[in-house]
Each structure stands twice: as C-alpha cells, then as structure tokens.
Amino acid sequence: MRQVSTEPAERRPSSAPAIPVEVTSLASVLRNRAAERPDDAGYIFLPDRRGERLQLTYSELYTRARAVAVRLAEHGNRGDRAALLFPPGLDFVVAFFGCLLAGIIAVPLMIPRRDSARDASAALLADCSPRFAMTSRELVTVARPDLAERFSGAELEWLFVDAATAESNTAGIALPNLEPADIAFLQYTSGSTSTPKGVIVSHDNLLHNLEMIRIAFGNTPQSTHVTWVPHYHDMGLILGILQSLYVGALCVLMAPVSFLQRPLSWLRAISDFQADLAGGPNFAYDRCIKRHRPEEMHGVDLSCWKLAYNGAEPVRAETIERFATTFAPYGFAANSAHPAYGMAEATLLIASGKRGGGPLIRTVSRSALQRHRAVPPTPGEDAYKVVGCGRPLAGTCLAIVDPDNQRRLRAGRIGEIWTSGPHVARGYWRHSGASAAVFQAVIDGEPEGVWLRTGDLGCVDENDELYVTGRIKDVIIVRGVNHYPQDIENTVQDCHPALRRHCGAAFGVLDQNGEEQLVIVQEVERAYRHDFAIGEVIGSIREAVTQEHDIAPREIVLVRSGTVPQTTSGKIQRSLTKQMFLARSLAVLQ
C-alpha cells in the first residue's frame, strides 16, 4: 500500500471512556439539561418551503416527554414496546424521550410507502409485539389514513403525541429509575419482510457510544448540528438527535424529502445556523455536487462546517474530492471531510477519524482488491482509491479476521472486520440463534474475548486506520439503506407462477459511477419457457420490487431452470451468481 498522507502514529488510549456516575441513562441527561438550561433551544425543525419553523427548548421537551411518559406508564408496563410512527419533525423527539423516561422500549419505524401492498411494518410488529403505536394525529387522520388500517391486526393501543394534544401537569408523578442495563430502544436496520431483526440497544450501550462519538468528533455544546437523515435511521437518531442532547448542542432537523428535493437548502441551513457538524451517507454529497447551482449559493458560508461526516454506505474518494473542490469557494475546508464506519449492531459508530484530520486516501490495485489483497497498483494497472474510515473508537477493539477460519490477520491483510467493547449491542430481539453467531464470535486461539462480526471486509494499516473494502454479508446498500436479498427474492417469486420459488438471487453491483445497483437473477419453470412474455414478466417484477422495497432493479435477468447456483444444502449462492452475471455466463432466456 502506498501512503498518500500521514497521520501522527500515536494511538488512542484504549481504556473505556468515563461516563459520569450520575448519568445512568439518557433520560437523566435530559433532566439535567432541562434543569440547567431550561430556555435554550435543543431542537429546531426547518419546514419545507411554506411551513413554519418549530422549536423545542430543553424545558419544553422535558415537560412534554414527561407527560407522554406518564401516559405510557399509566397504560403499560416497563419493558413494553412502543412503535414510533412519525413524519419528520419534533413530535418524534418528544415521543422517543417519553419512552426513555417511562422505561418503555421505543421502536422507531419507517412510514411505509402509500402504494405498497405489504410493507415491512407488519413483520416488524409481529417480531417485537408492541403494546403501543405512537404517532401524530395529523398523520393518521389527514395525511395517511391508510396507516390505521395497515396496523389494525396488531391490537395496538394508539397514542397521539403532538403539540395539539393537551398534556396535564404531571410534575408530581413518579417515573421509574432506569438501570444502565435496561433496554432503551430496538433498532431495525431496515424493513426486512422475511426475518426482521431488531438490534437491542441498552442505555449503557447508548451512553458509551455517545461518549465515544463525543471524543472522536470532539463535540462540544457549540457543535450545532444540521441533519436531514431520517429519525428511524440509526445515523439520524443517534448521531443527530441523541448526540446533540448528550453534548448539549442545538440540533436542527430537516425532512429527508426537503434534502432530496433541495440539497442546497441543507448547505444554506448549515450556513444560517453556523453549524459545526453535518453529514450523511456518501450519496448526500453526490447529490449536493449534482444540484450545485452557483446562483443558488449567494451568501452561503460553509467555513463554520468543521466536521462533515460520511458513513452508512461505502465512502468514495471521488465524492470526497469533488465535494471539496465544488464547495471550496464557499469556505468548505477539505480537511472537514470525515469518513466514519459503523453499524446498528454496534449502537452506531465503530471507527472514526479525528476532527479536522481530513480523509486518508490510498491507491490500491483494483484487481488485487477483488482477490481480497490490498497492494499498490502496478504501472498500467487499474488503480483504485480507498478511503480510510478512521481508527477504532476509545475503549473499543477492532480485529481483522479470516472469516473462514476465524484467525486474526495482520495489518495490511483484508478480512472480516470484528469489533468489541461496550458499544456492541446486546443482540437481536428474540433471535438468540442469530445473535450468538453475530454478537458472540471468538477469534481462533483467543478464547477470552467475544466479538461482533460486522459482515464487512476491510483491512487496517500500520497506524490502525481502517479501510472498508467490501462485504461478505448478503445485503444491498442503496442511499444508506440496507436491503435484504431474501425479501426482494420473495417479492420477485410472488410476481408470476413461472418464477421458481427459492431459485433466484438478488445482489448489488457497482455501476460506472461506483454506485451500488440492484440486480435480480431469477429462474423460470421449464414448463413455462416457451409460453410466456418475458418483457411482461420483467415489467411485473420491476413494478413489484419498486413498490414493495422502494428500490429500482437496474437489471432483471431471467434464466433457465436449475442454473442459479445453490449449495448442496439448497442455499442460494448469491456471490457466485453475481460473478456469473458479471462474467456474462448465465443461461439467460431470450
């Protein structure tokens, strides 16, 4: 590997970060903020073009969340689950903290597309069996009356949380004292209709990871944050909403759709609020570059923006470089780019650079990378730039492990990324088998520790810098959202009787821009081969997948019966199918 830039070789202290003893949960942090800085704005929601700007002071947030908590405690028991179904805005924040204060386990949910026939919510509700559904009155009565119908089978107790709902004075009513080991919330990483898995995040996990993030990012009460990342996404919730409260900084929220429509309005908000912190998945930066219009940037000053984090999908060197070049004239400093790496199973963050350290970009051989080797490119060879995602967080360990024999690999070798520490969540809700395999892995010859297997591939260099180079888990990541191939394959096979059950593969392929695209390969029953309209069936598949999963297949390939590779035990071999697709060696039906 060739080192393009260097960082000081000193290592972070490996002891776990110290959390003040009086802080036992984020609920106590909120109480303290309300007592010490009652009139400071904790959250601001920026409306779309016409709406009005909304604000919550710490005191308002605490009072409203407390009233919600009292209602929850009256109707439920500690440890009950509450599904949180909210449009972007401040009511979600109130509901989430209401759950924390009451000891009710919050389950943030994505609002299903209105035209989807069977969305992931039903499977999630069945998985975590919530007692409550918390929402805003406006959403379920005016904007999306179909939601009540969709959730009618789950015997939920509906609870409206909005500014219009009068809250009684609840100051004297006692709420439970939370223990660090209590569960704070369940994070479902994305809608998975076949086997949804909710990551169990305890108060202890949450506080530890928030403290690790604070240290790595160098956040202070002046670290005003402008975020549009959805609140049901771990990045939007933890890095946006919760880290801000934890460090006592203002958090300015925008609706995700406002960002998608007008990415430059995000940059303008960063300038208006003199924000220190803002970020998102890699595609967000691409979107800003694409929509950059100098005439819409008058008066925008990005010199305040010291930490532009980039995570939740592969970080691309080209994006980092183009963003810095495009927005340098507005004061954006190249060393503000801050790649990071994490996943919900580790609460959120696993590795991060240092504030202001700038990204570390190295050039490696693309062909060697495909064989899981990180070596410098030879002259004339296809060079590929990999971006460093920083180093393991304070108080955590990171190992690169051969996924086949669980042996630890040395620096420079590519293997599966494993992490351990107090940020690693407790497991998946009611999936003990899957939890043991993922959360309690043991390195060969090191029986004393248990590790989280990330399913991602990468290597570390001699300075402990982590480079994520690929993945072994079957997941497709588009715009920071995880999609599970099993779900997509099921949807495909439901489209037409000719499509063979359990005989198809969905996988991600990088396009010429380096963006991940969905490809579907599906077998057709022999009996139907000469007797069906291929174009028609492909159209049905495209429609169903787009509607149910909100992801558009880039290519749909129908193949002869018995030609999608399976293991001897009948499991679909997705990566082998992908190789055959790329090599054009599939038995394609014309």
């Binding site: 209105r114 035209d115 759709v257 429609e543 997948v545 558009a552």
Partner: protein, 90 residues
C-alpha cells in the same frame, strides 16, 4: 427554464428523455403510459424527476404529484393543463 409554455407532448418527451437517462435505459423502452413504478422509479428518483421538472418549468411541484398522476402521460397532461390555466390561455 423551458422556452415559452411547454405543451403536453413536449412535457411527455422531456420526461421520457429524463427517465431514460436516470434509469439508464433506451428511450424507446420508456412507455409513457406505464406506471412510474413499472418503469422502476423509486421514491428518491421520483423526487429527482420532479425537481428537474420544477427547474425546467419554473414552477413549484409537490412530491405527492407522482402518486396522484402515476404515469408520464397523466403527469404531463396535468402539468400542461395547470400551466395553461396559470397563464390564462386555456
């Protein structure tokens, strides 16, 4: 911005060209009668389509339009009628 006031066929053709580019498909495979989801337009790409249309037509469009007018033909008809109404030429 579009020159003058585009009519329905012009808006339709513009949408076909835009989607062919976005979805990386030949223009002749974009059926203006097909539902957007059948063409493989997810919600992010729907938003992008409307944003580009806004810029071209010089008018504000709500994201919900894609659900209310779920094909190129329907959307183009609505937008042309709306533009004609706004300019008092209908």
């Amino acid at each position: 911005m579009a020159p003058g006031n585009p009519n329905e066929p012009e808006i339709r053709d513009w949408c076909v060209k835009h989607l062919a580019r976005t979805l990386d498909l030949p223009e002749q495979t974009i059926d203006p009668e097909a539902k957007f989801t059948r063409l493989g337009l997810d919600s992010a790409n729907s938003v992008y389509l409307l944003v580009e249309l806004e810029e071209w037509l010089g008018t504000e469009l709500q994201a919900e339009l894609i659900f209310e007018y779920p094909s190129i033909t329907e959307l183009a008809r609505y937008l042309a009628q709306r533009a004609a109404g706004e300019h008092g030429t209908s």
